[in-house]
């Protein structure tokens, strides 16, 4: 009986600590990917539920003004306990401009650089592969 209780207590504590991955520490660790040749500019947080049956893919959407002449870098980091792996996409109006998911190689990269030649308000979209639930952070930086 005591052993059973101990296991229950252990599992409950384990769950609470595991879920603590999805917090400010994820922002901090992802921001560390900003190289010394770039400047941190913005963070984008996404915590999404699993895609329900016959439901649209859950998305986290943000807007950002990007300026011509700048080179930006977008990093995306999924939390350790995130079931889903994050994809970060950049849209100009309705047109997909950039994505961490590289169709040609079918690889999901953790970042991309974007040489901006059109000043405009762009849309950032974060989702998780196969609509799994997940937690992720996107970091925008700009090359100095």
């Amino acid at each position: 009986m005591i052993r059973f209780i101990s296991i229950i207590i252990f599992l409950l504590f384990s769950t609470s600590f595991a879920s603590s991955q999805c917090n400010q520490s994820l922002v901090t660790s992802c921001s560390a990917k900003v190289s010394s040749s770039a400047m941190f500019m913005q963070q984008y947080r996404a915590k999404l539920e699993a895609q329900g049956e016959d439901k649209d893919l859950p998305l986290a959407r943000f807007s950002v003004l990007l300026n011509k002449g700048n080179t930006y870098k977008f990093d995306v980091c999924s939390a350790n306990d995130s079931e889903g792996e994050a994809i970060l996409q950049l849209y100009d109006g309705g047109k997909l401009v950039a994505s961490t998911f590289h169709n040609a190689s079918q690889n999901n990269f953790k970042a991309f650089e974007f040489f901006c030649r059109k000043s405009a308000i762009y849309k950032i979209q974060i989702s998780f592969i196969e609509g799994k639930p997940g937690c992720a952070v996107g970091i925008l930086s700009m090359k100095k």
Binding site: R45, R61, E113, M142
Partner: protein, 303 residues
């Protein structure tokens, strides 16, 4: 007794886990696409989206530095009037103004001058009850060395981001709107002041591109026009918008090119925008923004 003890042992961790999780929830990531309805004509979600569209103050400062424009202390707002600022309106606008100045100082590595601006931000943010987002001692420590500049920039931006997110989550989007207005006014003022001294095509284009932000800013501030001070600010912004309406931005569309270089995904955009702006237009913008800036710094937008 044994059964009661067992029950207690089972319940206690559940209660503790709930508390840990609720504490964790405050720190847990909250998607920035939070939606909540309020009495605004524009939805809360749309307001948040519009607010997030204002560009970072360090971008203009970074452009100036890259164009080899020397630092000019005269471009920084005075903090002499900070103690006279009492209303939320004045405090919020001037946090934005000082935030833009902080970006300028950071980019030019004027770490010794940063503390005065940080101190001003600290005072104003305390008046607005958002001072908890600025770790004053950390900022002071980071400002003492140019080696910690990147950390200073990161900490400054993060502090503003977290404060702004808090304001949105506590239905104080109007305060957030004023802050970003302050940032925009000061950044545009900086660009026009510099252009006067050192005309430069890239700076001229960047001034013209402020049209994109101003269009959203006007929508944001208009939304709060039931307040007299917001109404006066909206009038000033509309006058600026009338000038910017004459600035033309044309775009040639193209398909982006994606390559993998040294293991990094790189996207080269082929679409290109061009700004058509004249010196006369820049002079008009400079004059208008200067007048507005003085009003905001001297809190002479009447209540």
């Amino acid at each position: 007794m044994n059964n009661k003890l067992v029950l207690l042992i089972l319940i206690l961790p559940i209660l503790f886990t709930c508390c840990v999780n609720s504490i964790g929830d405050n720190e847990d990531l909250i998607a920035d696409t939070v939606t909540s309805a309020n009495n605004l004509e524009i939805s809360q979600e749309s307001m948040e989206e519009l607010i997030s569209n204002v560009s970072s103050p360090i971008e203009i400062a970074s452009l100036l530095r890259n164009e080899k424009v020397p630092f000019d202390r005269a471009c920084i707002a005075s903090t002499d009037n900070i103690d006279n600022m009492i209303s939320d309106f004045d405090c919020a606008i001037n946090i934005g103004i000082l935030g833009a100045d902080l970006g300028y100082l950071n980019i030019y590595e004027k770490t010794s001058s940063v503390m005065s601006t940080v101190s001003g931000i600290n005072k104003l943010s305390n008046k607005l009850k958002v001072g908890q987002f600025f770790n004053f001692s950390l900022l002071k420590r980071l400002a003492t060395s140019s080696k910690t500049l990147d950390s200073l920039i990161y900490t400054s931006i993060l502090s503003f981001n977290n404060m702004e997110a808090y304001l949105r989550s506590t239905d104080r989007t109007n305060i957030s709107a004023l802050m970003i207005t302050g940032v925009w006014v000061e950044s545009t003022s900086l660009a026009t002041m510099v252009y006067k001294e050192k005309p430069n095509k890239k700076i001229a284009e960047r001034i013209g591109e402020q049209k994109l932000i101003l269009n959203n800013l006007v929508i944001i501030i208009d939304n709060y026009k039931s307040d007299d001070r917001f109404e006066e600010l909206a009038t000033d912004l509309h006058e600026l918008k009338n000038i910017f309406n004459e600035v033309e931005i044309t775009t040639v569309e193209g398909e982006p090119e994606t390559v993998v270089e040294n293991g990094m995904l790189v996207i080269h955009q082929t679409s290109e925008s061009t700004v058509h702006i004249t010196d006369d237009q820049i002079d008009l913008i400079a004059l208008k923004i200067s007048i507005l800036r003085e009003k905001l710094i001297n809190n002479s937008i009447s209540s």
